[in-house]
Amino acid sequence: MRTVDLVTYQDNWWEILTSDFMRNALLGGTIVALAAGLIGYFVIVRNTAFASHALAHIGLPGATGAVLIGIPVSLGLGIFAVGGALVIGALGKKAADREVATGTVLAMATGLGLYFNSLATKSSSTMTNVLFGNLLAITNDQLVVFAIMLVALAAAVALIYRPLLFASVDSEVAEARGVPVRTLSVVFMALLGLVITMAVQVVGTLLLFALVVTPAATGIQLTPRPRRAMAVSAAISLVSVWAGLAFSAMLNLPPSFVVVTIACLVWFVVWLSARASHRAGGAIVGAPTRATAEHPVHA
C-alpha cells in the first residue's frame, strides 16, 4: 500500500516567498483582493452572486480562444467577461430571475472553452490556469494592467457610490428620484467584468466565488454598514491571499487552494458564531451597538 503525503514542509519557504515571481504573486494578489473588496459588497446587495460566477465561466472560451488565435490570454478573458457582463446588465434588473438562462449560457461557454482548448495543441496549461488560477504566473506586464484596472475601479466606485447604493437598495425610489438605475446597472456589470478578469488569474473560474463573493458575505454578516463591510471584505481577501501564498510556499500546496480555503473558513466561523449567538438569544454578530439619540452611530 502506498501512502500519499498530503503536505510536505519546505524549509526554504522564506526564500521562495521573497523570490521575484513571488513578489509578483503578492502584488497581483493584493491588487485583486482590494478590487474584490470594492465590488463584493455590491455583488451581494444587487443579488448578482450567481451572475458573477457565470461571468467567470464565460471568460473561459475567451481565454482558450485567445491562445488559438494568438492574442494575450488576459485580453481574450477580459473581452468575454466584460462583454458577457454588459449583456447581463442590459437585460435589466430581473437578472436574478434568469438563473436558468444564465446557467445554460454558463454551461455552453464552458463547453466552448474546452473545445477551443482541444483545437490548440499547446494550450492545456492555459486551461488549467484559467480554471484554477495561477498566481505564480503573473507577469510584470499583467501587474501594470491590474494596477490601472484597480485605479479605474476605485475612481468609478467613488464616483457612483451613493447612487449605486441607492439603486441597489431601493431601485424604485432611486429611479423616482432621478437616479439612472439602468445605466448604473450596466456600469456596475462592466466593473464586475473587470474584477472577474483579474480574479480569474488569481484563483481561476472554478474558485472565483470564494474570493469575490464569500469575503463580502462575511463582511456583511459582521457589520451592516456599507463602507465597513467593504473594508472588512477587502481585509479578508487580503489575508486569504497573503496567508495563502505563505502556506503554499511552506507546505508546497497550490496557492489557489489555500487562498480559497482560508476565505471559506473565515466565512464558516463567522456564520457559526452568528448562529450560536442568535440561538443564545443574543444579538447577531456585529449587530449595531445601541446608540443614543445624542450619539447616533453613523456609517
Binding site: V169, V173, R177, H298
Partner: protein, 280 residues
C-alpha cells in the same frame, strides 16, 4: 420651458379644503390623461386637480391602475395622451435634478438589501442617494436623518438592519426616507396594507401631522378608506377604466362605493359623528 412663480399663476382651482391655501396652484393637474401598459389601456379620461396641502386617497379595485397612476406622477410611466403637471412641472422634471420635492413610499417596501444596511443608512439615501461623487456626511445631514427618524418614531431601531425590522417598522423607515429631503408632496402606495390596526392608526396619525404641521400634500393609495377617513380631504377613484376626483363628501357615497368595490357597501355615521363604511 420656464415656470413662472407659482404664486403668480394661481388658476382658481376649486379648493375645498386647506383653508389659506386657496391662492396656491394645485399640487397636481391631470388633463384628459390616459395610460397604456403592455399594449392595454389601463385607464383614461383622467381630468382633475388636487389642491396643494390636501390629503387625497387613490382608490380602486385590484389592477385598476392605482400604482400606475403613482408611477405617472413620478415620471416612471409615460402617459399615452393628455397633460400632467406635478408641483408645476412635467412628471420626472423638477426645479432641481433629483426631484427632492417629491417623496415616494413604494408598495411592498421590501428592500432586497435589507441585510446589508441599517435603517439609518436607508434613510440617509433619501437625502444623499442621488448625489454623485464621494463626500463626507455633514453634521446637518445627520441631524436631518435623526429628525426624520424621530418624526416617524423610528429612533429606537434606527441602528438595526432593515431585515430585522417588522413590517410596521419598515414602513416607518420608508416614510422617513421619503420625508428626509423635506418634500412638498409625498406619495404612498398602500402603506397600510399588511399592518395591524395599531400600526395603521399610527401611520395615519403621522400622515395627518405631516400634512397639518408641515403643509405637505399627501397622496395615498388605499384599499380600505376607513382608517384614513379622519385625515382625508378627497379621493381619486378609478372606476370602469376612468379616473375621477371628488371631495370626501362625494366619495363617501353608498352607490359609488358599492360600484367601486363590486359589493354592497353601507356608510354608517356613529352618534359621535364619525363615518365608517362596511360591506353588507
Amino acid at each position: 420651458m420656464s415656470t413662472p412663480d407659482p404664486t403668480a399663476t394661481a388658476p382658481a382651482a376649486d379648493v375645498t379644503s386647506a383653508a389659506g391655501a386657496a391662492a396656491a396652484p394645485p399640487a397636481l393637474v391631470f388633463d384628459d390623461v390616459s395610460v397604456v401598459r403592455g399594449g392595454r389601456l389601463v385607464w383614461s379620461e383622467g381630468t382633475f386637480e388636487i389642491p396643494t396641502g390636501s390629503v387625497t386617497a387613490i382608490i380602486g379595485s385590484n389592477g385598476s391602475g392605482k400604482t400606475t397612476m403613482i408611477k405617472v406622477i413620478l415620471g416612471l410611466v409615460p402617459t399615452a395622451s393628455g397633460r400632467v403637471r406635478v408641483l408645476g412641472h412635467a412628471p420626472g422634471e423638477g426645479p432641481s435634478s433629483g426631484r427632492d420635492d417629491i417623496g415616494y413610499v413604494p408598495q411592498d417596501y421590501t428592500s432586497t438589501a435589507g441585510d446589508a444596511i441599517r435603517a439609518r443608512d436607508a434613510v440617509l439615501l433619501g437625502l444623499t442617494g442621488s448625489r454623485w461623487a464621494f463626500s463626507r456626511i455633514t453634521r446637518e445631514q445627520r441631524e436631518r436623518v435623526d429628525q426624520a427618524l424621530a418624526a416617524v418614531d423610528a429612533t429606537e431601531f434606527a441602528n438595526r438592519r432593515v431585515s430585522q425590522l417588522s413590517g410596521g417598522q419598515r414602513q416607518r423607515v420608508a416614510i422617513a426616507q421619503a420625508i428626509v429631503s423635506r418634500p412638498r408632496l409625498v406619495v404612498l402606495d398602500e402603506p397600510l396594507a399588511s399592518l395591524d390596526l395599531r400600526n395603521q392608526r399610527e401611520i395615519v396619525d403621522l400622515l395627518g401631522r405631516l400634512n397639518k404641521d408641515l403643509g405637505v400634500t399627501i397622496l395615498v393609495v388605499a384599499h380600505d378608506l376607513n382608517p384614513l377617513l379622519s385625515v382625508l380631504d378627497g379621493a381619486v377613484y378609478l372606476l370602469d377604466g376612468h379616473a375621477h376626483h371628488a371631495p370626501l363628501s362625494g366619495v363617501v357615497d353608498e352607490d359609488l362605493l358599492s360600484h367601486l368595490y363590486g359589493t354592497r357597501i353601507e356608510v354608517v355615521r356613529t352618534p359621535q359623528g364619525e363615518l365608517f363604511m362596511r360591506s353588507v
